[in-house]
Amino acid sequence: MAGLLSIGLSGINTSQANLATTSHNISNADTPGFSRQAAIQTTIDPIFSGAGFFGQGSKIDTVRRQYDSFLSQQVLTASARKEEFSAYGSQISQIDNLLADTSAGLSPALQDFFKGVQDVATNPSSIPARQALISTGQTLAARFNALDTRLGEIRDVTEGQISSTVDSINTFARQIADINERIAAVQVGGQSIPANDLLDQRDSLIGELNKLVKVNTFTESDGSVSVSIGSGQALVVGNTASQLVVTPDSSVPADPFRSEVRLATPGGAVLLPDSILTGGQLGGLLKFRDETLDSAREQLGDLAIAVSTQFNAIHQAGYAIDGTTTGTAFFTDISGLSGSAADRRSAAGAFAVSITDPSLIAASGAADASRGVTAGGSNNENALLLAGLQTARVMNGGTATFQSNYSQLVSAVGNKAREVQIGEKSQEAQLEQATNAQQSVSGVNLDEEAANLIRFQQAYQAAARVLSVAGTLFDEILSVSR
């Protein structure tokens, strides 16, 4: 009877433990990163008697979370890629909208400017037509400058986001180091008795960090997790976290706004090149900056340089309305900015009209005695040459007009934006699949828990019944002796 009582009691205890675990699962059904737990129930070691082994009831071995590190790793991989595309996509969509906009894009201003040139060619001695050409030139300059300003703002926002993402990475790294220390402290029984909820919290933090930059993890023998980024640079080892710092890019002193990411080590800050910081929001931002934003600004700068230089070359060879003044530049000379990439990025901002006197517009060709032609007045020969620039293939080694060069830029950005959108969608689908696979193991199903609740309640009731039977049996014995 003593055995019966203790067996019944063990049943009550295990059922209570099971009910507690089930309730814990129900309470945490919506907790992010929570893995459902199960109390692992086994038999108590039996007692040997001459007749054989008699069971002694049940006990709870341990509480284990339902977790598959392989599936979790898949979620991390898909999530890093998805976040990279997502950060890239939200930046590039701003440029995508900007460049081809019918009111903000460059195309309408370029077309209007050449309409102004044609008007001067048609009415070469008309001062209002000449003044209008200067105005359309200034509109073109304002559009170049405005695009440059807007791209500069996008650059500033991107640099700001790079900096704040690095701050968040540092925060997560410290939190992971802290939780590593706590796990090592509480898992006194070794890894076979896991601190489930702390492990979930740590996985959740690693998942958040991984959204910012792709990480690789390695579980150490003491249960702590080491986190590395890039090509293996350690961010967290045990309970210590290294810090990332953002510094001005030393390789481009001409561009003080440009930043680079470094890893602070005792020996000094080590540069992490953009090419190795892949995945996550940081990877997406760096990729956007290096692949799209830079080349868009450079191409726009190239176009600004080409328009001003080509137009000036013809304009300076022509003659003003007085027939004698020559060599006047129409646009500010920015041909010196065609050298370095940083200079090319600044060219669109430097594009400006330098001519102010409409009578100095060189619409006239040179005097030619053999044809009896004099310069100035309504001589429009040079204006016709200037107008011809609109459709002349003077860019990309004589294969593209100004307009088609700009169209190439629009198309390149549009294609990239599309590629990123498609990439984001496909990574979203992969992430969903990976998350579903992981959730099908670790996620809480409330119906299942409800069923378990009934099951363990009944087990509890049955175990209580055993106690009551044991009590009845004891009464029987007492009544015999009475």
């Binding site: 459902r36 044609q118 001695s125 198309s411 934006a417 579903n436 996620g443 119906d447 409800a450 009934i454």
Partner: protein
């Protein structure tokens, strides 16, 4: 496969959001009438549209220039017509003077008549176009085309000298057509290339001088003067007619260019529309399909998430 409760909620929510995003995109297309909302929707078509819109804009400029050219050529053509008429009139008067029945008094009044024609011709030679530019000054349209021609007592007017140059203003009226829309005065009024004196005006002036000579003047020879005046006028009329014919053929050519440009404009508009514009039939049917799908997703979401075993535990 084991399904967790959050999967049911998340999957349902994701589908709803995706459907709403698709619907919002279609709605944007319907509201703007544009198939391409951003270049990434169709990068190739957007780049192409930019190039076609430049071609369209250039073509529009040609159409504007054609209008200017047409106006300028019409003015030139009517001026040439009036010059031809005046020359013809002077020739008729010269023929009349040659029949020998005119008294000296009548010859004097004929001289006054021809001088009036001379002045009207000079006024035409110095006429301006609508923008105040001298028509017959070549590229030097800011200054008077011809100077001289002042009246001289007892003789024909003084020599008329060309002040302009040989340039003729041109306009681009087609992708590869730059059309002259003016003729230099030196060509129309036959200026001597070295002295700049107009031979047309000298012929008339010489005739007037001869008519005004006193009958007692031994050098006076009316029949010879009449012959030389008729010869001079014939040469001038030939010259003006040739130029007028060339201007006329340019106007015909311009009409063809106008038709061609209008045709191109239509084609460019068609291409742009095909590249950018929305097919409303397709978009509306897509929209109603998306609406149906979204409604189904919403209703099924409510049903599926409404099921719980806990509801049945009493």
């Amino acid at each position: 496969m084991r399904i967790s409760t959050s999967m049911i909620f998340d999957a349902g929510r994701n589908t709803l959001m995706q459907q709403s995003a698709d619907m919002a995109h279609t709605q944007q297309q319907l509201a703007t009438g544009r198939r391409i909302l951003t270049p990434s929707d169709d990068p190739i078509a957007s780049a192409r549209a930019l190039e076609v819109s430049q071609s369209k804009s250039v073509n529009e400029q040609f159409q504007t220039n054609q209008g200017y050219a047409k106006d300028a050529l019409s003015v030139l053509e009517s001026s040439l017509g009036s010059i031809g008429d005046t020359l013809q009139y002077i020739r008729t008067r010269a023929v009349e003077a040659g029949n020998g029945t005119f008294s000296p008094g009548e010859l004097q009044s004929l001289a006054s008549d021809v001088e009036a024609q001379f002045n009207s011709l000079l006024a035409t030679a110095n006429s301006k176009d609508a923008t105040g530019e001298y028509l017959f000054a070549g590229f030097q349209s800011g200054q008077t085309s011809f100077s001289g021609g002042a009246a001289v007592a007892g003789a024909g007017p003084a020599a008329v000298v060309y002040n302009g140059d040989e340039g003729s203003r041109t306009m681009q009226v087609g992708p590869s057509r730059v059309m002259p829309i003016a003729e230099p005065g030196s060509k129309v009024f036959m200026a001597d290339p070295t002295t700049g004196q107009s031979q047309m005006f000298s012929a008339i002036s010489d005739f007037i001088t001869e008519l005004r000579k006193a009958p007692t003047d031994p050098t006076r020879n009316i029949p010879a003067a009449v012959q030389s005046a008729i010869g001079g006028m014939d040469a001038a009329i030939d010259n003006v007619s040739t130029i007028r014919a060339s201007v006329g053929s340019r106007m015909v050519e311009l009409d063809a260019q106008v038709d061609l440009s209008a045709q191109h404009d239509l084609e460019y508009s068609d291409t742009l529309s095909r590249l950018q514009d929305l097919d409303y039939n397709e978009a509306i049917s897509r929209f109603s399909q998306q609406q149906t799908v979204l409604q189904a997703a919403q209703q099924s979401y409510v049903r599926v998430t409404g099921l719980s075993l806990f509801d049945l535990l009493r």
